[in-house]
């Protein structure tokens, strides 16, 4: 029979089960895949049905802003990954700086999003608006999906920014250190997931040919 490895046992011996916590975080991300998945499902059906309308709706999207946001998130994944590598080497200050950079980029993303949304709202395009309701059915759906999907994604970015801020605080206090960084690692997993969702949102809303 397989020998039970000591480091797998958690509350029984009072040791922290790092692998268990990581597993828990991955499982949570699986649930998020299904949560966002429901929205992607609706998007894919409606785009199949109204491909021309989706194309028209997306025509006015600001590709520059969307691309900048993509670069921002990809780079923020880079910085948070580096921040963990740093803390593993015991370099708490570089790690803190990298986490701070990640937070700044998250905020920048949200600021750009804010501008994109207000631009649309100023044009009268928002759910249930008179302007929207006059558009073609597929366009109404397109903009509805735009707001819901980027909105929920933005909410996840905001939550991520808040959580990373807590991690930054703990890193500064050395509560997160080379022997105890599971929380930071799991936070990073969440952040990468948020990045991946955007990786899919970007072509689906900005690059419809």
């Amino acid at each position: 029979m397989k020998k039970r490895r000591g480091d797998k046992v958690s509350t029984q011996t009072g040791r922290i089960d790092k692998m268990g916590k990581k597993m828990g975080m991955w499982f949570f991300l699986f649930t998020e895949i299904l949560f966002f998945g429901g929205m992607f499902l609706l998007y894919s059906i409606y785009r199949y049905r109204y491909s021309q309308d989706f194309h028209s709706g997306a025509a006015d999207e600001n590709i520059v802003l969307g691309t900048i946001n993509t670069v921002i998130l990809l780079t923020s994944s880079f910085t948070i990954a580096l921040s963990i590598a740093a803390v593993k080497k015991g370099e708490n200050i570089p790690s803190s700086l990298l986490q701070f950079a990640t937070i700044l980029m998250g905020v920048a993303f949200l600021v750009i999003k804010y501008f994109e949304w207000t631009a649309k709202i100023n044009l009268g395009i928002y759910p249930d608006s008179p302007v929207l309701l006059k558009l073609a059915k597929g366009e109404i759906l397109f903009f509805g999906l735009y707001y819901v999907m980027t909105g929920l994604h933005g909410l996840h970015v905001l939550i991520g920014v808040v959580v990373i801020s807590f991690m930054l605080y703990s890193t500064q206090r050395e509560k997160i250190n080379r022997d105890n960084y599971a929380r930071l690692e799991n936070t990073a997993l969440y952040w990468h997931f948020v990045d991946i969702v955007w990786i899919y949102l970007y072509p689906l809303f900005y690059l419809i040919t």
Binding site: S10, Q12, F30, P127, D128, G144
Partner: protein, 540 residues
Amino acid sequence: MTPINETAATTSFYERTGKYRWIIAEWMMSTDHKRIGVMYLMALLSFFSVGVVLGFIIRLSLLSPGWLMGQQTYNEFFTLHGVIQIFLFIIPGIPVAFGNIFLPILIGAQDVAFPRINRLSWWLYVTGAILILLSVLVKGRPPDTGWTFYAPYSVQTPANVSIAVMGVFVLGFSSILTGLNFVTTIHRMRAPGMGWFRMPAFPWTLYATGWVQMLATPVLAITLLFIFLGRFFGVGFFDPNKGGDPILYEHLFWMYSHPAVYIMVLPAMGIISEIIPVFSRRALFGYVAVCMSALGIAVVGYAVWGHHMFTSGMSDTARIIFSFVSFLVAVPSGVKIFNWLSTLYKGSIEVDAPLLFALSFIFLFSIGGLTGLIIGSLAPNLHLHGTYFIVGHFHYVMFGGAGFSIIAGLHYWFPKITGRMYSERFAKIGWLNLFVGFNILYFSMFILGFQGMPRRYFDYPPQYHTNHVISTMGSWLLAIGLIIIFANLIRSIFKGEKAPANPWGGKTLEWSIPSPPAHENFQEIPVITRGPYPYEEEAR
């Protein structure tokens, strides 16, 4: 091993820990899986009782439509009955009650992987329950959409749908966290020597259920969110005027709600798999197949949701596929039934209450399952969809199945949880009333449905009257049975004979610790050297 302090090892987990001044704070703030499980159990049974009363009143109304309530109220009654029984009783059901209390013990662990998340799950459950209660109490009418909240009506109705839907959303989150917790617990915290195939069947079903909770519930969450967004912001994903498709609501809704029935029934089957070996003194026949079938049901059950929508307007190809896969899921279910029967065969049978309810499960679930094949076939479904045949079917599988399993588990684990024995005599008298009443109440529904009586209808033409009266009378007998059963259990908590650690001669780990367990499950983590049902080996 960890040094255990004397007090934690010997006093029952009910004794005050002294951490908080008020006992209610001590329990509500507890991260002990046993306390959380007991609190859940009390809540579940309370909501079940409310749901039963609602059902009882619905049946009374149907004796002579209009004498008790009007049409609008009737719609609100069956909506609430469904929401309470499904979201507050049977979906959380066995996992949060018996799963919480016994999973760590069954695998030789001191607690679950994430005790504080477990506590969060409990708090979310309470919050969800309060929100649903509020939807009835606050200004405006209670929801009248049916527990399925179909769009576009759920988006348009002025009733308090938003609060109810928020409540279900919160409950879903609670469920997801429980599933996540249990799956991690089973992976990481089994005692030394307990390989996967030395783990009892009940944890196996909790494992499969945990995956379903994690991978299906989020789809419900987003669907409910769409309703909410539709009501508040006019987002019209299911509104044809805004390009939406109501059938997509049904797809998204049933993508969760079908796997949800496996959340209800898989742990129930797990309990049966525990009870049958003990009361026939035989190892579970085909133990590996039984465990694998739990996974099989979970996987296949993920791809059958369309059978709730055969008359909605789906494509023919989709309907054929969904019907075919629905038939497939009967296979792993059948594996379990045959293996249970084979376990009983030539066993040394003691028909105590746990076994009596377990045998009832097999009988009633089989009827429910077989009628499921009838409605899973496309042609009959055209006639039977939306009729009382469906109502009969799901009450047989959910109540006759999972419900009876819960009662079986209550009796089986009663000595362990309370440290006392219930009265076997009254359990059996209660069973008789419940069983006979149940079949009268629900079998007549198959006939009603076959004759064309639609479900969720407040009123009906005279030709259905007789069967409705018979059904209602069945509900009275059923209610008497439930009252006797619960009165017996409640009384026995206070006046029952003290129970030993192992009154049934069970071989799984919970029977090796005191009744009730101490704060800390095990003085020393056991080292496992044998399978979970060694009856034959020990008899040699």
